[in-house]
C-alpha cells in the first residue's frame, strides 16, 4: 500500500522448481543448483548478476548443514556481498533476502535449496525422526508431534471427520490435476477414501499427511528498480512476519501454546500490506496435515477456534471456492522436499499472481498468502504477496 516501507522496494522476479519425485538420482547440492539456475533463467538474469545467496553453506558465512551444503561462492565462481544459511528457504528466507536487498547489503539475492539422494527408499524420511534424546527413545515422528496438538483440538472441538477429510481430498485432487506433482494423475480422492486410509498416528490417516519427496526450489529477489528491466512481472512482498516459539521436536508441542501460532505474524504481515485476510485471493498454506489447514484459517481469524472445518466446508477451497488453497496439490500431493518445501509455496504463489499456474490457476488472483511450518514444529511464518 504505502511505497515507503523498505520491503516494498523489492520484488520477486524469478522462481523455479525442479522435477519432483520420490527419489532423484543426484545430490542435494546438485538438484539445488539446478533450481537456482532455472530461477535465474526465469528472471532473465545470470550468475554474474547474483551478489547475495541464501542456501546451505559451509564455512565462513555459514555452518555445514546437510543436505545440500556447498561453497556457493565457489560454485558461482565469484565472491558474494551477502549470504544467509540460518533458514534459507520459504518465507523467512524470502524476508531475510528482501531485507538484505532493501538495506542495500546486496542487489540481487538467490534463495534456493532442496534434497535428492537422501530418501533411501524408506517410507519415512530420516528428517521426520528427530534424534533428540527425549524424543527418539519414544518412537516419535513428525506426524506424532503434530498429532499431539490435533488430539487436544479434537477433544475440545469435535470437528466433523468428513469435513476434515474433504480438505485432504480437495488438495490431493488439485495435485492429481497438476502434471508436475509427484501424485499427478492419482485419484480422484473423496473424503471416504481419506477416512478409509490406514491410521498413522491418531487422528492422522495416511491421506491426511504430507509426502516426503525429492527436488529443489528457488527464487530471485531484487530491487523494484532493477525489476523494471526484467522480463517477468514483478511480485511484491506486501508484508511478512515470523514467530519462533521453541526449538522444534524437543519438548512436545502443546495445543494451548501453539494452536494460534502465526496469529501475531499474520497481524503484522497484513498491517504492513494494508490488507485483511479476507482480501486474499489464493492461499498457499503449509499443509503438513489436514488439521494444520484448519488451524491456519482459525489463526488468521477467518473463523472462530473450533469452526475451521465447517467454515472451509461451506466456503469451498477449490479454484471456484471462496478460499482457493494449495492449488498445486500442496505438500500432500505435489511435493514436500524437506528444507526446500517452504520455497515451493512461494513458487506457486508467484505463478498464481503472474497468471501462469496451470490447471490450478485462480482467475484474476491479485493477493496471495504463503505460510510455512506449523503448530507441531513450534514455529510459523506468513507472507502476503501481490501482483505487479
Amino acid at each position: 500500500m504505502s511505497g515507503t516501507h523498505p520491503l516494498h522496494r523489492v520484488a520477486i522476479v524469478g522462481v523455479a522448481a525442479t522435477e519432483m519425485a520420490r527419489q532423484i538420482d543426484t545430490s542435494s547440492a546438485e538438484v539445488s543448483l539446478r533450481a537456482a539456475l532455472a530461477a535465474l533463467d526465469d528472471a532473465g538474469l545470470g550468475v554474474a548478476d547474483v551478489d547475495g545467496v541464501a542456501a546451505r553453506w559451509p564455512g565462513p558465512g555459514g555452518t555445514v548443514f546437510q543436505p545440500g551444503s556447498a561453497d556457493w561462492a565457489g560454485v558461482f565462481g565469484q565472491p558474494l556481498r551477502w549470504v544467509c544459511d540460518t533458514y534459507p528457504q520459504g518465507v523467512p528466507g524470502a524476508l531475510d533476502a528482501a531485507a538484505a536487498v532493501a538495506a542495500g547489503l546486496c542487489e540481487t539475492a538467490l534463495v534456493f535449496g532442496g534434497q535428492a539422494g537422501v530418501m533411501g527408499g524408506s517410507a519415512v524420511a530420516d528428517y521426520t525422526r528427530p534424534d533428540n534424546e527425549f524424543i527418539a527413545c519414544w518412537g516419535s515422528l513428525t506426524a506424532a508431534q503434530f498429532a499431539l496438538v490435533a488430539q487436544v483440538y479434537r477433544h475440545r472441538h469435535a470437528p466433523d471427520p468428513e469435513q476434515l477429510a474433504a480438505i485432504a481430498a480437495a488438495i490431493r485432487n488439485a495435485g492429481s490435476a497438476n502434471p508436475a506433482a509427484v501424485m499427478a494423475g492419482r485419484g480422484p480422492y473423496t473424503a471416504t477414501d481419506v477416512l478409509a486410509s490406514p491410521m498413522v498416528a491418531e487422528p492422522f490417516r495416511l491421506l491426511d499427511l504430507c509426502l516426503a519427496t525429492e527436488g529443489a526450489a528457488a527464487m530471485v529477489i531484487t530491487t523494484t528498480e532493477r525489476a523494471r528491466d526484467l522480463p517477468q512481472p514483478p511480485v511484491a512482498i506486501l508484508g511478512g512476519g515470523a514467530e519462533w516459539h521453541r526449538q522444534q521436536y524437543v519438548n512436545p508441542p502443546r495445543y494451548d501454546e501453539v494452536w494460534s501460532l502465526g496469529a501475531d505474524a499474520a497481524r503484522r504481515a497484513f498491517d504492513l500490506a494494508g490488507l485483511r485476510p479476507h482480501d486474499v485471493d489464493v492461499f498457499e498454506l503449509y499443509d503438513i496435515n489436514t488439521y494444520e489447514v484448519v488451524r491456519q484459517f482459525e489463526m488468521l481469524g477467518l473463523c472462530a477456534e473450533g469452526e475451521g472445518a465447517e467454515y472451509l466446508w461451506e466456503a469451498g477451497i477449490g479454484t471456484d471456492g471462496r478460499h482457493p488453497l494449495n492449488t498445486d496439490g500442496g505438500l500432500l500431493s505435489y511435493s514436500h522436499i524437506g528444507w526446500g518445501g517452504p520455497t515451493l509455496k512461494i513458487v506457486e504463489a508467484v505463478r498464481q499472481l503472474r497468471g501462469t499456474a496451470g490447471p490450478g490457476q485462480v482467475p484474476n488472483a491479485e493477493v496471495a498468502l504463503v505460510t510455512g511450518a506449523g503448530s507441531g514444529a513450534q514455529y510459523h511464518n506468513v507472507m502476503v504477496l501481490g501482483g505487479g
Binding site: L141, Q151, Y255
Partner: protein, 139 residues
C-alpha cells in the same frame, strides 16, 4: 540415530542430562529445579527458562501427573518399535511435562486429563525409560 548397539551406552555420562538418565537407571524420576526461583522445568537446559539462572539441580519427582495429550502410533518410524503404542505429553504435578508412553492399558482407554503415575519400562534399545501408567492399572 543408529540401530541397536551391542553394548548399551552409559547414559549417565551425557552432558547436562546424565543425572536424569542415571536416576532413570535406578528407577527414579527427577527433574531440574531452579535454586533461585524454585520452578521445575524440562527438558534440562543450561539456564532456567523462568529466571535465566544457571543455578539449578535435579530433584526427585513424585512421578504423578495427568495426560495433557496422547496419540496412538500405528506406523513406527523404525522397525525397532512395535505398534501400536501410545505417545503422550504428561503434565507432572510439580509443574513440568515430558514426552512419554502410556502403558498398562489399551490405547483406546487413554484419555486427556487421565491421572497417571510413572512406570519404568525397557525401551527397544534395552535402556530403561520413564513411561506412565493409569492410576489403579494392574501392576
Amino acid at each position: 540415530m543408529g540401530g541397536r548397539t551391542d553394548e548399551l551406552e552409559d547414559r549417565s555420562l551425557r552432558p547436562l542430562t546424565g543425572e536424569f538418565w542415571a536416576a532413570v537407571n535406578r528407577a527414579e524420576l527427577v527433574r531440574p529445579v531452579c535454586n533461585d526461583c524454585g520452578q521445575s522445568f524440562f527438558v534440562p537446559q543450561f539456564a532456567c527458562p523462568y529466571c535465566q539462572s544457571t543455578n539449578w539441580d535435579y530433584q526427585p519427582s513424585s512421578g504423578r501427573g495427568r495426560v495433557y495429550s496422547h496419540t496412538t502410533v500405528h506406523r513406527p518410524p523404525t522397525p525397532a518399535f512395535t505398534a501400536p503404542y501410545v505417545m503422550a505429553d504428561v503434565d507432572v504435578e510439580e509443574g513440568w511435562h515430558l514426552l512419554t508412553w502410556i502403558v498398562d492399558c489399551e490405547p483406546d482407554q487413554v484419555a486427556i486429563d487421565m491421572p497417571v503415575s510413572v512406570k519404568f519400562v525397557t525401551g527397544p534399545d534395552g535402556h530403561r525409560l520413564p513411561a506412565f501408567a493409569p492410576d489403579g492399572a494392574a501392576r
